[in-house]
Amino acid sequence: MSDQAFPNALPQVTALSIYKTMIRIEACDQRIQQLLAAGALQFQYYPCGGQEAIPASIAPLLNEGDQVVTTYRGVHDIVAKGTPMAEIIGEMMGKVNGTSKGKGGAMHLSDPNAGVMVTTGIVGAGMPIANGLALAAKLKGTGRVVVVNFGEGASNIGAFNESINMAALWDLPVVFLCQNNAYAEYTSFADSTRSKSIAGRAAGYGLVGETVDGTDPDAIHSAAKVAIERARSGKGPTLLECNAYRLQGHSFGSEEDHMDQEELAEARANPPIAKFRAALIDRGDATAADLDAIEADAKAEVEDAVEQSMAADMPSEDELYIDVFANTADVPYVGTPDNKAEPDLSDREVQTITMCQAITEALDLALEKDPDVFLLGEDIADPAGGVTKATVGLSTKHGEDRVRATPISEQAIIGAAIGASLSGMKPVPEIMINDFTMVCMDQIANHAAKLRYMSGGRTSVPITIRTVTAGNIGNFAAQHSQSLEAFFTHTPGIKVVAPSTAADAKGLLLAAIADPDPVMVIEPMRCYYVPAEVPEGYYEIPLGKAAVRREGKDVTLISYGWAAVEAAAAAEALAEDGIEAEVIDLRSLVPLDLSTCLESVKKTGRCVIAHAAVEFGGFGAELAAKLSEELHGELKAPIKRIGGSYTPVPFTPSLESLHFLNADKIKNVASQIAG
């Protein structure tokens, strides 16, 4: 009956299902705010009032396997995708029955069981990750569609540009769902952009954009249906903008003075739920009594979830370090890395190749071994084969799907890797130069490193970020020469590897790719093209196992990366002066092989820590402090550090050589304490 009188109306079953979801969202959102207003719960909450119709109208179009990424104002998206109510409310209360055992909280609900893959607290950061989920769907041919929700405020962030461009370029099965609620936190749409709409920007990127009334389920559903079918049939992404006025301030308890009071009053007088309820009755789809029953059921469902969550426990103390890494033994100072034995390579054929060629070989072996491994990065496909030539030949051999050249879009590169890894793949993104990791730091530090913990172990990010540190190769200056490992060792959840030899570069890279956690491998360009002996075939050098390069009794030199080569040379020079130095190459900083360092410094009583990175605030400071704490009273001299001067890396050779350490400088410092 409704078909004739309301030609654009949805079928009754769909309409009622959408209404039910809207009511369940409202019941959840309102109950949370009730508990906050009563002081029973205390956390920062971002209500979704006014936006209920958007995910509710899309939900009937999504399969169980389809995936959603959302934001801190995303409880409506999460309820609509099917996360159990008790897990949502439990997480908001910080209880063990929550989606993340209480470790993620209201802003970081993730429930891969229901396809809620990431809820991010960083505006705009979900889009790059959604691309990765969609890329995995495309590469694996799962037919899965990804819907990424964000606000109009997020459309002014760089990640929007990078992600939309990459998704259009690669025809990714993703729907960019802009929930335009008229305010980006406290700033109106008009004060944020000259664009008339967000969807209007789509044309510039070569994808379809459409704006619909985000309070009208009929309109949302029909537009989303086209977008989802487009994605599912391999025809690429859509930018769908749903306009739905925010019915309250930015967060629970925040003032509303920044909002246009007339507009707000008008929107509140005709909220989407009441409007749809009236339409359903008007169309004859339901009676008031039918809809009352839906409301009563939703309230009961929420009440049951609140009771379950109130009764649940807070996580126990041992949960603190669980989910930082797959294996808690890898957490610095908490566990001792499971020291897998060094591989026995004595019967292997040995070839003389450069570190660069050893890396190419490792990537080739990884691509051959595991179909879930793929590479992505700027210029990495043939004929370029990467700016360092580390990936030369690989796209020709393994195809451009698996050795994937990207636009210059570091956030999109890391996001795509993260998303694909959440779907079980093992991506190896390349960030050309270490300095460039700073432009995608949000994806690395706030997402790759934290998603396992924030999801209470429900998701993990087994990506291997390869990056070159180009320090001390001559005239590469301040923005292409840095060693930034301390940024990453200071970020719980990501492992950091720094090889100094070609054989290690190969074995550590293969171990990193096989590792269940995100790993950053910092490859030293200074050692890149030096021929050395490298065993043939597949082998892994375990992460968290230092190498003792030279034994000695007088002083311990601890180093990593290209500085370890200088330390070894310093040891030879010291030997000529009668000082026997023990040289430890850490190889990985996280996990850290503290016991090898302790054992050596205990023996020698003296220690110099040498690294290419700026000395002030560097990794050496951490290690020196720890060794001093552990060995106080057994040291014969203060632990010394040597690293880069506290300056940007200078261009001109006369100053560059002053900035960086070398074997002579290490020798001088060691002689001061051991001479």
Binding site: Q33, L36, A38, G39, A40, Q42, Q44, S251, G253
Partner: protein, 78 residues
């Protein structure tokens, strides 16, 4: 009959305490959902706190007093 304790709500991420400035309802009266029940001054602003429940209202806090987030302020009996 259910007794619900109303505690001082956390209205901003940095908020630790607030001062009760005015009661809009008296003890013993019926309050409805969303009815302003008291004025709360925080470090940032003064807001009218609305009743999250309906029922018979009892004031506990005293006007002019500063309370910590989570301290009991009022009670509603349903």
């Amino acid at each position: 009959m259910a007794k619900i304790m109303l505690k001082l709500p956390k209205l901003a991420v940095s908020m630790q305490e607030g001062t009760l400035r005015e009661w809009f309802v008296e003890s013993g009266t019926q309050v409805t959902l969303g009815q302003p029940i008291y004025a709360l001054e925080t470090e940032k602003t003064t807001v009218e706190v609305e009743s999250p429940f309906e029922g018979t209202f009892t004031c506990i806090g005293e006007v002019g007093q500063t309370y910590k987030v989570g301290d009991p302020i009022a009670e509603i009996v349903q």
